[in-house]
Symmetry: C2
Subunit: 260 residues, 2 copies
Amino acid sequence: MYRIQDILDRLMPAESIEQTVDGLVIGRPDEEVRGIAVTFMATQAAIEQAVSLGANLLISHEGVFYSHRSDGNTLKEDPVVWHKKHRLEELGLAVLRYHDGIHRETPDGITSGLIEELGWQDAVCEYQPASAVLELQAATLGEVARLLKVKLNLPYVRFTGDPLMLCRKVGVLVGYRGGGELAIPLLREVDLIIAGEGPEWETPEYVRDAVYQGKSKAIIFLGHGPSETPGMKRLARVLRVAFPSLLVHVIENEPLFHWI
Amino acid sequence: MYRIQDILDRLMPAESIEQTVDGLVIGRPDEEVRGIAVTFMATQAAIEQAVSLGANLLISHEGVFYSHRSDGNTLKEDPVVWHKKHRLEELGLAVLRYHDGIHRETPDGITSGLIEELGWQDAVCEYQPASAVLELQAATLGEVARLLKVKLNLPYVRFTGDPLMLCRKVGVLVGYRGGGELAIPLLREVDLIIAGEGPEWETPEYVRDAVYQGKSKAIIFLGHGPSETPGMKRLARVLRVAFPSLLVHVIENEPLFHWI
């Protein structure tokens, strides 16, 4: 029999990060864990699904109340936030935010998860704290984008660059790491960056100018969730090994956007 | 005959904003203006086009060196930045960043430009400092998204929400204002937000939960450039009136992304 505290002790040992967004958003550490569900984003749909699967602990990578740092207090008068909080209490579902801990693994567990999902483990040259550098078999940018779309089952993929450009050296930057501060220096050593998302006026505009100058550079934005969901699926596999008597479910969020 | 200083005096009068990203990035205030080109982003392609049109002053809304605040010094060793700077010097093209001034007009000149481009001036209920609230003839979210795609000539539009939802009250938030801090409070008074871009885990996730709860809420992301380009076209019209003897060109950037 495990309590929520046992899961916390495994994921957030006492000597770990001091300043963190991680922790129990709702629920009590002494509750017995009847089942775990792991997801990128504890949407209201994921919450209902977790309960229907028999889980009483949901582990969410991103913030439950639409903010990286807020616990919902800044929006506590908001009817959507109120309804979600109220429903969580009604269901008795505990929610654990688990973001910093997995990103600070060596190598970053979210980055590794994406690379494993793509079957690219053997192509990794180097793990840096916020990125991984891979050397793939040469393929065009268009081919890589299509491969990602199929392998990650995405409705759309956005990219900047020449679809016919050959890519070999690739940098992987999950989540919001597609911004200029991380991605532009990395583009000096790679042809292509695969990222979650980032401000449009930074790296994509850099790539556009680089291409105009005749340089072979490109960036693919998978979307934030699609780039980090495989890392949370990987976490579920880790938890299944650590707590073999517990059922650990993965809840994959539906695509966030429609595209027309 | 006008000098660059005359344009600066018109756009950035001495009593205006103190802390600003606006100003001459390259060029001398005493240069004679032979022609002006106005664009959302001074890409390398836009720079070449400005010169080929006979302009020697390019007015750019976003930062020339892939950053909101940096003048390129933090990336001065970067080959793309170096090449762009070198080419600007070689061409003798002056570049004026004009971002804060137009956003701080009353109403915001970039927001007004988008609303005028859409022919929605008569639908405006209220201009707030960072947004406008409009009341449109009821249409479904899918219809509004398709209308925006056609009117703004966009390859793709992304949205979160039910395509069949009826929208009437609409909030417009140009550029990067699609984040939760501005957009979530505004969604309490509108059905739909039309924004440039914003972090995916904030407003789109809020909308996803709101829809799950049965609330009629939606967000459309046009892309940063598409949401702000009409405001820069509007600036060109203002400059043509202010400086009737000068040719003022508009340079529209190509779509930033491929989508597959």
